[in-house]
């Protein structure tokens, strides 16, 4: 059974790097990409072109996004009973304490900064795979209220 991952990221370079890294780590991952916050919410709510989108097992969310930024997306997700059980990992270049605090206040499941070095970045993606997609027990059913 493939694992559905939603990557919310506006930088194609990062998208590709992440995709490459996941490919090295785990072949059974379906990586979906939303390039801004609005698209991310449409994907999660199966709106428009995303009517058939799967419910992701995990969301990798960048903070600095066009249209609706990652903080707002996070807030919407955690306010939505059907979405809030999805683990949401912040993956961003910002190391600002304010962003870290704000994200955890909005109930982010963890906060990761993108390493500068390629090796380190690959290592981080591997850690995500090993922990969130292998070790962690996630809910299998959609939670309806």
């Amino acid at each position: 059974m493939p694992i559905e991952v939603l990557l919310v990221e506006d930088s194609p370079g990062d998208v590709r790097l992440t995709r490459e890294a996941f490919r090295d780590a785990n072949m059974s991952i379906h990586l979906h990409v939303a390039s801004d916050g609005v698209e991310a919410m449409a994907f999660l709510r199966h709106e428009g072109a995303h009517a058939d989108a799967p419910r992701p097992d995990i969301i990798l969310l960048d903070l600095n996004l066009p249209k609706m930024d990652g903080r707002e997306v996070l807030a919407h997700i955690k306010e939505d009973n059907s979405l809030k059980t999805i683990p949401t990992v912040i993956l961003t270049t910002s190391a600002a304490e304010a962003d870290v605090v704000k994200s955890y206040q909005l109930q982010a499941n963890c906060y990761l900064t993108k390493p500068v070095q390629l090796d380190a970045f690959e290592g981080l993606v591997k850690s995500i795979n090993d922990f969130w997609l292998s070790k962690v027990k996630l809910p299998q059913q959609r939670q309806k209220t």
Binding site: S11, G13, D14, L17, E20, T93, V116, Q117, L118, D119
Partner: protein, 699 residues
């Protein structure tokens, strides 16, 4: 008071006069009545004598007739004489009583008839003998005459007795009258005296006036005192006033006050169309009025008078305390001369000068002050200094509960005080004043040098603006460096990541040129990454610094050594240290500082085992000087200053990699901690970096 007394005295005198007059009249009338009583008694006595004389003559006539004895004739004749004498006396005594006079006429007639008869009888007796005489006597009505005589005398006696009763009653009545008048008069006098006495006592008790007491007060006064009534007449004065003006008291009392104070005094007491006498006086009360006094010898002298009102029965009197101010005037004249000289000095001063008295009034000022404040001199002299320096000046001169005038001033002397001045047109401008005391006859005056500091203030404001601008621009620059390096990192990360990916996937699969190009690209990208990392670290020193707290420098060093573990192990370096103290520091930055210095010490080595030793020594009471000593390459002396600058490097990149920012970060950290960093080095033998940090507050 005087009116009352005069009235009372008049009443008393009148009462006494009336009493006296009535009493006198009563006494006179009474004594007259007594005289009349006495007179009546005299008349009664004479009547008795008259009757007796008549009877004597008649009985002696008979005796001679019977006896012929001549001795009877003697007595007979004596009787006739006494009768005549008494009749005359009675006639004199009763001249005022017509009735009695008539009866006396009848008595005289009867007496004459009787004596005629007796003479006839006696001649008959002598010539014709006893019988003829007796016959005539019996024939003639001799007895009838005597009876008539006796009856008349009785009538007269009755009349006199009646008068006596009347007159005695009259005298008694008058006596009673006199007694009554005297008693009433005395009572009236006593009453008046009593009323006046009581009235005076009451006035005294009310304290409205007590001439003697007030006079005592006047005499006790140290000044000459003159009491004047509304009419401008002197009512009272004291000895001092006599001496002052050279008059005797009696030469002044009742005289016009103009004689001794020719002008300005009497005028002040007089009501005119616009004010009453009381108001006229009220305006003058309590204020010292400077006038001229005139002595008896005609010489004038300066005086100051203080007026106060004195209520009295005569209306409001004015008490004037008159002080001879010749001495003061002389002093003032002297002062004026001094001021003249002082004014010269004032005018020579380059600043605006204002001289102010303790009351906060402007006494003197110079041309510069006129210009500066836009007033003419006469518009300011005598005015309150608050008009031109609204706040902060007058207040500084005023004594309060905590300090005297002198102390208040002494605190301000010589120090420049920045205040605000106000021109005549109402505009304000910044001033600086310098105060200094000036002894004068009026007490301590304050000389204020007032400098317009508009230009300086503008310059200061300008400078402040510039500083603010600079701070803002520095902050912006720091912010810029941070944002720029952070945002540069993103594309750079792409470059670095993809060149590395390229190198990893395609190394050996393309030609050797491609491999070399990719290698340069990877190296450039990673150097730029370090540069940006270090630049961020540098800008963080200023923007992300934390408060300086008590920090264990030994723990900070340990932390730094853990971060450097890789390099230490790689080079086999030996890092030692003495026990290190607590200091006031931002711990993160202290770690960074040690990390950079120890890292450099290990890095810049040719060969052999790097040895690094860290120690600290007290420098004075407040600082610790840390030393990081190595056995490395050392630094040429000409570079000692440069190495703490940004991007300063001493070695080729292929010898030692680096951004040239590490020591600049060290310098910035130490400076942020209020210290300085320096280096001592012997090329080839090693370097010692020293920096000072403040002691922990707990020590």
């Amino acid at each position: 008071m005087t009116h009352k007394l005069q009235f009372a005295l008049g009443s008393a005198v009148l009462a006494l006069l009336v009493t006296g007059a009535v009493s006198y009249r009563s006494i006179v009338e009474c004594s007259e009545s007594n005289l009349w009583v006495h007179h009546t008694e005299q008349v009664l006595e004479k009547l008795q004598d008259l009757l007796a004389a008549m009877q004597t003559s008649e009985s002696n006539t008979r005796g001679y007739l019977l006896t012929g004895d001549e001795s009877f004739l003697e007595l007979y004749r004596a009787g006739i004489a006494t009768t005549g004498k008494n009749l005359t006396m009675l006639r004199n005594l009763t001249t005022d009583n017509a009735g009695q006079q008539r009866r006396l006429d009848a008595l005289s007639t009867l007496a004459s008839q009787q004596f005629q008869l007796a003479k006839q009888v006696l001649r008959l007796r002598q010539e014709n003998g006893l019988e003829a005489a007796t016959e005539v006597m019996q024939k003639e009505s001799g007895n009838q005459i005597m009876d008539g005589f006796q009856t008349l005398v009785g009538q007269m006696r009755d009349e006199e007795l009646r008068l006596l009763v009347l007159r005695e009653g009259d005298a008694e009545r008058r006596l009673t009258q006199a007694k009554t008048v005297l008693t009433l008069g005395t009572i009236l006098g006593l009453l008046i005296t009593g009323v006046v006495g009581w009235s005076l006592l009451r006035d005294n008790a009310q304290g409205k006036d007590s001439g003697a007491k007030y006079r005592g007060l006047l005499e006790a006064a140290p000044d000459a005192m003159v009491v004047v009534n509304q009419g401008g007449e002197i009512v009272l004065l004291n000895v001092q006033a006599e001496k002052q003006f050279g008059y005797r008291r009696d030469e002044l009392v009742g005289q016009r006050v103009k004689n001794i104070i020719p002008e300005g005094f009497a005028e002040r007491l007089i009501a005119d169309g616009t004010r009453t006498a009381a108001e006229a006086l009220a305006q003058q009360i309590g204020t010292g009025i400077e006038l001229s006094g005139r002595r008896k010898d005609g010489s004038d002298f300066p005086i100051e008078i203080m007026l106060s009102p004195l209520e009295s029965a005569e209306g409001t009197l004015v008490t004037a305390a008159v002080r001879n101010i010749s001495v003061r005037k002389a002093a003032e004249k002297h002062l004026a001369q001094m001021e003249g000289r002082y004014r010269g000095l004032l005018e020579a001063a380059p600043d605006a000068m204002v001289v102010v008295n303790q009351g906060g009034e402007i006494v003197l000022l110079n041309v510069q002050a006129e210009k500066q404040f836009g007033y003419r001199r006469d518009e300011l002299v005598g005015q309150r200094v608050n008009n031109i320096i609204p706040e902060g000046f007058a207040e500084r001169l005023i004594a309060d509960a905590l300090r005297s005038v002198e102390d208040a001033l002494a605190q301000q002397i010589g120090t420049g005080i920045e205040l605000s001045g106000r021109r005549k047109d109402g505009s304000a401008f910044p001033i600086e004043i310098m105060l200094s005391p000036l002894e004068s006859a009026e007490g301590i005056l304050v000389t204020a040098a007032v400098r317009d500091i508009t230009t300086r203030k503008k310059a200061e404001a300008n400078l402040l603006n510039k500083v603010e601008e600079l701070n803002r621009s520095n902050e912006e620059l720091g912010q810029f460096a941070y944002i720029a390096s952070h945002d540069l990192q993103e594309p750079l990360r792409m470059v670095a990541s993809y060149t590395q990916l390229l190198a990893r996937r395609y190394k050996g699969k393309l030609d050797s040129d491609a491999d070399e190009f990719i290698a340069f690209a990877v190296d450039g990208a990673s150097r730029m990454q370090r540069l940006i990392h270090d630049l961020l670290a540098y800008s963080h020193v200023g923007t992300k610094g934390k408060d300086l707290l008590d920090t264990s420098s030994e723990e900070a060093l340990q932390h730094a050594l853990i971060n450097l573990r890789g390099a230490i192990e790689e080079k086999g370096a030996i890092v030692t240290h003495d026990p290190l103290p607590s200091v006031l520091a931002d711990e993160t930055q202290l770690i960074q500082l040690f990390q950079n210095l120890v890292g450099n010490a290990i890095k810049y080595q040719k060969s052999g085992i790097p040895r690094v030793h860290i120690s600290a020594a007290k420098n004075g009471g407040k600082k610790w000087v840390f030393s990081v000593k190595d056995n490395g390459l050392g630094i040429e002396s000409q570079y000692l200053e440069r190495i703490f600058g940004m991007f300063q490097r001493l070695h080729k990149r292929d010898e030692f990699a680096g951004t040239g920012i590490g020591l600049a970060i060290c310098k910035k950290i130490v400076e942020r901690h209020g210290g300085s960093i320096s280096v001592e080095s012997q090329p080839g033998h090693g370097s010692t970096f020293r920096f000072a940090l403040a002691k922990s507050e707990k020590e």
